[in-house]
C-alpha cells in the first residue's frame, strides 16, 4: 500500500488531481485549510496504485507519494 | 619625443574603460557616440571580452543589467535620445543595487533634436531620470585625458556603492581630438561581491530583485538607499577650482568649462580676475565648496549648454548668500568666450 502525504495547507482545492485520477480516488474534504480551501483527500488508500498522475498535475506540489 | 597619443574623445573613453577592466559592453548606434561603439566592437574582441551590438537601447541597458548580475564590469553608451530609453533599466539597476556604467554623449534636444554637443540632459542625469527615488553617480570629464581616466573611477565608485554610474559628456568632447597620455589605470576591484549570481555552488541561492510588496519593505529599502546616497554626498564630491581668489566665479562642467577657461585666459590678459569652479561630479553635486565660496566671491556665473539646469543646484547650494547669474545657449549651440565676458561685464 503506497503512502500518500497531502500538504493540506498547500492545497488550493483546484481539483486538477480529482479530474486526473484514473481510479477516481480523490475528493475534496469537508474541512478547510488555513487558506480557506477545501483540500483534497484520498478516498481509499488501498485503491491507490501510486501512478503519480495526481502529482504531475498538482500546481502546488501538495502531494507526495511513497511506496 | 612625446609619449602622448592623439585620440578622439569617444575612443579615449573606450580605451579607458577597457583598461579599467570593462568585461562587457553593449551598444546601439547613435551620433555623436558612434566611434565609441565602433572602437569597442574591435577592441573588446581583441581582449576576448563581451561585445554585442544590441537591437535597441532598452536591450543594451538590460544586457548591462544581466552582465552586472553575473559580476562583470559592464557598460553601455549612447547619446541623449538613446539615454532616455535606458532610463527604465537604470531605475531597475538602482533598485536592485547593481553597479554599471552608462555614458551619455549629449546632443541637442528635445526629441531627435540635432547632433551638436549639448548639456541639456543635466536634469535627467542628476535627478534620477527614471522612476523612483534614486540617483546615479554622475562624472563629468573635461578633456580627452579625463575621458580616458574617468571610466576607472566610475566603475570603482559604482561598485563601491553598488549603484549605476554615468559619465556625462557631450558631442564636442567626444568628437574632438587632443593629445592624451595612456597613464596606468588602477583596476583594483572590491573582491567581496557576495551578491552576484554565478550559480549557487557551495552557498545558498541568491536573488536579485527590486519588487518589495511586503508591508513596509519598500520603504525600508528606500531608507537604505537614501542612507547610501547621503554617504556618497559626504564622501564623493569632486571638483576643480581655478583662481580661488577671484571675485567672480564661473561654474561650469565639461565642454562649457573649457569655453569658460578660454574666457578666463582672455580676461586675465585684460587684468580682470575670473575664477572657475568645475564640478567633476554633478551628482553628488559639489555643494560644500560652493557654500564656502559663497562667503568669499561677489557673484557666480553658471555657464551651460542648455536653458538653465545646473544653475538650480548652484542656487540651492549657495542658498541666497551670493547672487547667482546664468548664461547658456540651448539647442546644440555652443557658448563663446566673448559671450561669457559680455555677461561678466553686466554683473
Amino acid at each position: 500500500m503506497p503512502k500518500i502525504i497531502i500538504a493540506q495547507n498547500k492545497c488550493k482545492g483546484c481539483e486538477l488531481c480529482i479530474l486526473t485520477c484514473p481510479k477516481k480516488n480523490i475528493r475534496l474534504s469537508q474541512k478547510m485549510n488555513k487558506k480557506g480551501f477545501h483540500y483534497i483527500e484520498i478516498i481509499d488508500p488501498d485503491k491507490c496504485n501510486a501512478c503519480g498522475l495526481c502529482f504531475q498535475v498538482c500546481p502546488d506540489v501538495a502531494i507526495e507519494i511513497w511506496k | 619625443m612625446t609619449t602622448k597619443r592623439l585620440m578622439k574623445g569617444n575612443e579615449a573613453l573606450g580605451e579607458g574603460a577597457i583598461q579599467a577592466g570593462c568585461g562587457a559592453y553593449f551598444g546601439y548606434p547613435i551620433t555623436p557616440q558612434n566611434e565609441l561603439t565602433e572602437y569597442m566592437s574591435r577592441r573588446m574582441l581583441e581582449e576576448n571580452r563581451v561585445f554585442i551590438q544590441s537591437e535597441s537601447e532598452l536591450a543594451a541597458i538590460n544586457m548591462v543589467f544581466g552582465a552586472s548580475v553575473a559580476g562583470a564590469r559592464a557598460m553601455t553608451s549612447s547619446s541623449s535620445p538613446g539615454v532616455s530609453l535606458k532610463q527604465e533599466g537604470l531605475s531597475y539597476m538602482a533598485g536592485c543595487e547593481l553597479p554599471g556604467l552608462v555614458v551619455n554623449v549629449q546632443r541637442g534636444g528635445p526629441g531627435l533634436g540635432n547632433i551638436s554637443g549639448s548639456q541639456a540632459d543635466y536634469f535627467q542625469a542628476v535627478k534620477g531620470g527614471g522612476h523612483g527615488d534614486y540617483h546615479l553617480i554622475v562624472l563629468t570629464p573635461g578633456s580627452v585625458q579625463e575621458l580616458y581616466e574617468m571610466p576607472a573611477l566610475a566603475f570603482s565608485l559604482s561598485e563601491k556603492y553598488r549603484t549605476p554610474a554615468m559619465i556625462l559628456t557631450d558631442g564636442i568632447l567626444a568628437q574632438m581630438q587632443e593629445p592624451m597620455e595612456a597613464v596606468k589605470i588602477d583596476t583594483t576591484r572590491d573582491e567581496n561581491r557576495d551578491w552576484i549570481l554565478d550559480g549557487c555552488k557551495g552557498r545558498a541561492p541568491r536573488k536579485i530583485r527590486s519588487l518589495l510588496m511586503e508591508e513596509g519593505a519598500l520603504e525600508a529599502h528606500n531608507r537604505h538607499l537614501q542612507d547610501k546616497y547621503n554617504l556618497i554626498k559626504t564622501q564623493e564630491q569632486r571638483y576643480q577650482l581655478i583662481n580661488e581668489q577671484a571675485e567672480i566665479m564661473l561654474v561650469a562642467y565639461g565642454i562649457s568649462a573649457r569655453v569658460c577657461y578660454t574666457a578666463i585666459q582672455e580676461a586675465n590678459k585684460k587684468g580682470a580676475k575670473l575664477g572657475l569652479l568645475r564640478p567633476l561630479t554633478v551628482w553628488p553635486f559639489p555643494e560644500k565648496i560652493l557654500q564656502e565660496l559663497a562667503l568669499k566671491v561677489k557673484a557666480f556665473l553658471v555657464v551651460e549648454l542648455n536653458a538653465g539646469q545646473m544653475v538650480e543646484d548652484v542656487k540651492l547650494a549657495v542658498n541666497g548668500k551670493t547672487p547667482v547669474h546664468f548664461y547658456g545657449r540651448a539647442g546644440g549651440a555652443c557658448v563663446t568666450p566673448g559671450e561669457i565676458l559680455k555677461e561678466i561685464e553686466k554683473i
Binding site: K12, P59, W66 | E55, G66, A70, L197, P205, L211
Partner: protein
C-alpha cells in the same frame, strides 16, 4: 519505503501565490525537476519576468534575478555571454515575451543566444487581472476586449513558436500544454530537451506552454481545461516546431 514523487530540490518550500488550477506551478516544478535531473542546480541562473511569475525567485531554489517587463532575453544575454559555462533560462508570459518584449525575444533568438526560454502562453494578462494579450484568441472576451477580440481592432493572436522558427538562430522550439498528466509529462520532456540543447552549446531553445488561467478566463477549472484543449490547441498546435539537432 521509497519516495516516488515529491518536491524537487530545485523548488523551495514556499507556497505559490498562484490562483487555484493555474499552470504556472506545474511548470515551475517541471523546470525544477529537469534541473535536478541534469544536476545543474548549482550552475543555473534563472530570470523571472514581470507578470504572474514575478515572484518565481521565491519558488526556485537556485540563483534567480528579476528583469524589467519584456527584457529577460536581454538580461539572459548579458549573464550568459559573461558566464558562458552557466545555465541561463528565462521564464516569461505572453505579454512579457510577445508584446512588450518581442524585440528582445526575436533578437536573442536570432543571435542564437545559448539560452533556454520557458514561455507560458495563457492568452491573457494575468497579473493585471485579465487584459487582452498578444496571444488572446479571436473572439476572446477580456477586460480590454469586452466584445471579443476583433482582428480589425486588435490583429491576430501571434504564434510565437512558428514566428521564431523562421530565424536561423533558433535550434529547438516546441509547444506543449499542462491540461493533463500526459501533456505535463510531454512538457517535461520538451523542457529537458531544451536545457540539453543549451548544455550542448547548440544555441537557442524555447518551449511554449499553453496554460490555463481559470479566474481571468472567468471559467471553472474543468471549463478552462476544455478551453485549452478545444480552442487553444486548434490555433496553437502542440508538438515540436523546430529541431535543428535532428538535421
Amino acid at each position: 519505503m521509497k519516495k516516488l514523487f515529491s518536491k524537487p530540490e530545485s523548488l523551495t518550500d514556499t507556497d505559490h501565490k498562484y490562483c487555484p488550477g493555474c499552470g504556472h506551478g506545474i511548470v515551475h516544478r517541471l523546470v525544477a525537476e529537469v534541473i535536478d535531473e541534469l544536476g545543474i542546480r548549482e550552475k543555473t541562473i534563472g530570470i523571472a519576468p514581470v507578470g504572474c511569475a514575478v515572484f518565481a525567485y521565491d519558488y526556485w531554489n537556485f540563483d534567480v534575478t528579476e528583469a524589467s517587463h519584456g527584457r529577460p532575453p536581454a538580461v539572459a544575454t548579458g549573464i550568459k555571454r559573461f558566464l558562458p559555462d552557466r545555465v541561463v533560462f528565462t521564464y516569461q508570459g505572453d505579454g512579457d515575451l510577445a508584446a512588450i518584449g518581442m524585440a528582445e525575444t526575436i533578437h536573442a533568438a536570432n543571435r542564437g543566444e545559448n539560452i533556454t526560454v520557458i514561455f507560458i502562453n495563457n492568452a491573457i494578462y494575468g497579473m493585471t487581472t485579465g487584459q487582452m494579450a498578444p496571444t488572446s484568441l479571436l473572439g476572446m472576451k477580456t477586460t480590454t476586449s469586452p466584445f471579443g477580440r476583433d482582428p480589425k481592432l486588435a490583429g491576430y493572436p501571434i504564434r510565437v513558436g512558428e514566428l521564431l522558427s523562421t530565424l536561423e538562430g533558433t535550434t529547438f522550439l516546441a509547444r506543449c500544454a499542462v491540461d493533463s498528466a500526459k501533456h505535463v509529462l510531454d512538457a517535461k520532456k520538451a523542457i529537458k530537451k531544451a536545457f540539453e540543447v543549451q548544455l550542448a552549446g547548440k544555441g537557442y531553445s524555447m518551449v511554449e506552454i499553453l496554460s490555463q488561467c481559470p479566474p481571468n478566463w472567468k471559467k471553472s477549472v474543468p471549463e478552462s481545461l476544455e478551453y485549452v484543449r478545444k480552442e487553444m490547441m486548434s490555433y496553437f498546435p502542440l508538438g515540436v516546431i523546430k529541431d535543428k539537432t535532428k538535421a
